[in-house]
Amino acid sequence: MSRRWIYVALTAALATAASIWAVPRLDEPGWFAYVGQGGAGDGPPLPSLSPDLFLYPVSAQVVLLAVGVGLLVQIYSTAYLGHHPRYRSYALIIILFLVGMIAVVGTTNLWVLLVGWEVMGLCSYLLIGHEWQTAEARAGAAKAFLVTRVADLGLLLAILVIGETYGTYDIVGAQIASSQDGVASSTAIGLLVLVAVVGKSAQFPLQTWLPDAMPGPTPITALIHAATMVAAGVYLAARLFPFYADSTVVLTAMAVVAGITMLMGALFALVQTDLKRALAWSTVSQLAFMFAAIAAGDPEAGTDHLISHGVFKALLFLGCGCLMHAVGSSALAAMGGLRRSMPATFWTMSIGFAALAGVIPTVGFFTKDSVLHAIEQSAGEDGGLATGTTYVLLGVALVTSFVTAAYATRLWLRAFFGPVPDGRQEHHGHEAPRAMIGPLVVLAVATFALSIGQPFHLGIGVVGTVIAAGGIAVVVWSWRGGSTLEWTTRPLTAELGLDRPFTSWAPAFARGVSRTVVDLDRDGVDVYPRAGAGVAGLTSRALELVQTRNVQRYATVIAVGVLVLVVAAVIWT
């Protein structure tokens, strides 16, 4: 027991250190202000991992979110996973992950950022594969790692292009250079960054790894695959926003990606039969919301929603972990009627669902409001998105908030109300231990506390509230009408088959090509050594005709040779 608290203490120490560093920065003015001295040199220097750490207010918020959720998850895990034989490696990887996250957020050196970025990916891979005995965990881990790593090549190239364009690998230095000499290569940089964040944040068309990452332990899902790592994509897009802000191509591409992803994720979440997978799709959809804000030219709204989503989604996932702990499964069919046996979980998760649906006065409402406001405001502005695109995006976002409210209500109803499943009437559910409930309560409080000081936009706020209320009302009305809320629309439950390129086509392609290559390597490329051996063999066979170990042959050859030489000598002299 005490061993487990060592890791909690380690995490707490890390969190404390990060907080001491980050909290004073919260009040700094400006959003990613240009500070620092460095500037453009003669050419990009060789990369170095110089720890140029510097926090802006937004970075400080993200750091605090990461270490805060990380600490809560560590505490939660002592109860949730404390008796697991590999708890030690699990807890250590979480700490490593937090270090990576702090590196990503806190540095101005792009290489340090990349290192942290990849360390997070590695930790994600290792933690998804924590239950490596099971095939789903292995497959999910491999998929997550591969997809994100391929996408990370985009970031790698983006860094190279930034270095080449601005002559430095320091973000601040590059910003100074761009303010002095003007922005350049913005489309290339922006598209490459977009590739990277689409992979990391599971946006269309690389979205499928995130739902498949759900075999990982639930606290990990809460930390990495909801609150921090996937959100780091949003953070990065916002951080590097000045470098591509003037490229309509990039912003339009981002808007399209975000629009497709938010609606698709919400629809998929609506029909899931598994609570955890539904929450994963919800994460995908919410991340798309943040990208929509960035595409609309207001990255601050995006990062605000990042923080708020991080809090309430962590709350939902941790609550989901409590439910799984109680009923032994994350399937909605195994739940139902849990509000009586698990009151604490019920109340905290209700707050979480309310935030997800966008109900006043949770933080989810305010930040969603800011995002919608940002999209609305960007219409008609110079630069950035075209007005038409903006209105389409706004429409999609409103539809998505309707669907979001609907699926949040559906999940809430199916998990906590409704009939208890057959055969589970006795001992159905039990409240989770205090170490698990504690973090839930903290996060629930935070869901309200963060609302303080959030801006409120009257017009769009009212529209958003009406739409969310509509979504809730439709589901509740249908529930009252006796529906079981088991909506199984074939194409949606199959997730439109978007998974197929990743699960069957790509591996089949790789296997096929690799088989061809292996065969070719053995039989094709090897031809020239074999042909060489054959020629040598033939030559030796030919020369063997004179080297027969037969004296007479030798003598004959010598005689012929002498004759030829004599004839030659006679002819030429």
Binding site: P45, L46, P47, S48, L49, W111, L114, V115, W117, E118, V119, L122, Y125, G129, W132, Q133, A137, R138, A141, A142, F145, L146, R149, V150, L153, L156, L157, L160, V161, G163, E164, A510, R511, V513, S514, R515, T516, V517, V518, D521, V525, D526, Y528, P529
Partner: protein, 475 residues
């Protein structure tokens, strides 16, 4: 100092081979480790700075040919030398086991010393002499101490390929020598023939697809230390040769595009080949081809960044692949084979430390930032992105694109290997044994080296900052 550093392992190696009946294996290995440590320390101490040739020795040798006994340490060769000596020490430590043949230790020392000689040579003929001197003992290592079917065949294949390559290099050296003499710091040639011959010769050694077919056989049959030396040191003879000769040949520019494309085709090719392998040692061997592809791409740009990339990539590959081969060797020691099917799943559960080391090595090899493998690959990509002196934009950027595909493939096959070996439902076998102390020391040293170079690449990269290395070979 350099002479001592070369002579100590060489002489002790020869003595161990002559007196192989009089010493026991572990004692021989301990002596060998001591000799290599002496060499390592001497090479570390000889360093005088990157702008001069450190510890230069220059005496007459074969006057009529213009060949001199010219040895020295430059900014380019120093990392290679330290890496080789380090790997040599670890190989000897690895052999501190009961069933070691003293002759094998002797061979390892001779090979290491000859390779050190290659890296120290500042005379082309001397370079070639050491180059050849390293080849022959390796044949014995593979043929006598190899395991599995066809060791003799693989050894002969290895020897024929590499000797054919050396023959081309020799002809190239002759051409260069006729044009501009044999001293690395003076000569330069405008001959296209020399460029083609030298590049072709080193391409066999490096190896570049399609001249690579000797490599998987040699690696999979060689004993563990043989594989490690082959991968960590021998392939570097090829890349170092290219690095050394590239500035000497004006017409390198004509060969460079082919070299670059062959290199990146090798990356993709080996990636797919790895994806279909069952034998872990073959997999690592093919992955070496891929990593060498990055190095070749970097060299073919003949730019300053490319030079830094090639040196860093070579050294990092030496450490990482050494680690991978030591791990694969541990597995082969236990299970008698390196076949992933035979080793079985779930090593995480059966031999946790070994599995974790393997995963770390694999992750390092796939170029995760923060580990040594990353910086070499990254700088290669950057060199290709910046095109360099001799390539054209279409060639360089095509190479860049293919290399990126290769990076993705590398991830894919290592993830597959981890999935097949480390993860999965554990099925206990009798041979399940976690690392013993000897293995832990060797693997631990390499892990530390990989981590240090990954998090602090400056020691090597600073040798090339700000890119103009005056002394010695890099101009």
């Amino acid at each position: 100092m350099i002479v001592t550093a070369l002579a100590v392992p060489f002489v002790i190696g020869l003595l161990l081979m002559v007196g192989r009946a009089r010493v026991s294996g572990p004692v021989a290995a301990a002596i060998g480790a001591a000799a290599m440590t002496v060499s390592l320390l001497l090479y570390a101490l000889v360093w005088e700075g990157r702008d001069v040739v450190s510890g230069e020795v220059d005496t007459s040798w074969i006057e009529p040919l213009g060949a001199r006994l010219h040895l020295g340490v430059t900014a380019v060769s120093w990392p290679f030398l330290l890496m080789t000596a380090f790997i040599g020490v670890l190989c000897c430590l690895w052999l501190v086991a009961r069933d070691t043949a003293p002759a094998l230790v002797g061979l390892v020392l001779v090979i290491s010393a000859s390779s050190l000689g290659v890296f120290s040579s500042l005379d082309l003929l001397l370079f070639f002499v050491f180059f050849e001197l390293a080849l022959i003992p390796m044949w014995f290592v593979i043929a006598w101490f190899g395991t599995g079917d066809g060791t003799r065949r693989a050894a002969t294949r290895f020897l024929l390929f590499t000797v054919a390559g050396s023959a081309l290099v020799l002809v190239g050296i002759v051409v260069i020598g006729l044009d501009g003499g044999l001293q690395v710091d003076e000569t330069v040639t405008g001959s296209l023939a020399a460029a083609v011959l030298v590049c072709l010769g080193f391409a066999v050694k490096t190896p570049i697809v399609p001249l690579h077919t000797w490599l998987p056989d040699a690696h999979s049959t060689a004993p563990t230390v043989g594989s490690v030396l082959l991968a960590a040191v021998f392939l570097k003879l090829g890349t170092y040769g290219l690095i050394l000769f590239a500035p000497l040949m004006d017409r390198f520019a004509d060969v460079a595009p082919y070299l670059a494309i062959a290199g990146v085709v090798g990356i993709v090719w080996s990636g797919f080949a790895c994806y279909g392998q069952d034998d872990l040692k073959r997999l690592v061997a093919y992955s070496s081809i891929g990593h060498m592809g990055f190095v070749v791409l970097a060299i073919s740009t003949r730019s300053d960044v490319g030079l830094a990339a090639a040196v860093f990539g070579s050294v990092a590959h030496g450490l990482i692949t050494g680690l991978l081969f030591f791990t694969a060797g541990s597995l082969k020691d236990r299970f008698g084979t390196a076949s992933m099917a035979a080793i079985g799943r779930g090593l995480y559960g059966r031999t946790p430390w070994l599995a974790v080391t393997f995963v770390l090595a694999a992750v390092a090899s796939l170029g995760l930032p923060g580990l040594a493998g990353f910086w070499g690959e990254l700088l290669s990509l950057r060199a290709a992105y910046e095109i360099g002196d001799v390539l054209t934009k279409p060639v360089a950027w095509t190479a860049l694109a293919l290399a990126l595909v290769g990076v993705a493939l590398t991830t894919a096959y290592f993830v597959r290997a981890i999935r097949l070996v480390a993860q999965g439902e554990p099925v206990e076998q009798d041979a399940d044994r976690d690392l013993d102390r000897r293995e832990a020391v060797v693997l631990g040293a390499l892990v530390v080296a990989v981590l240090v170079l990954g998090l602090w690449p400056a020691p090597i990269l600073d040798l090339f900052e700000p890119f103009t290395v005056v002394a010695g070979v890099a101009r």
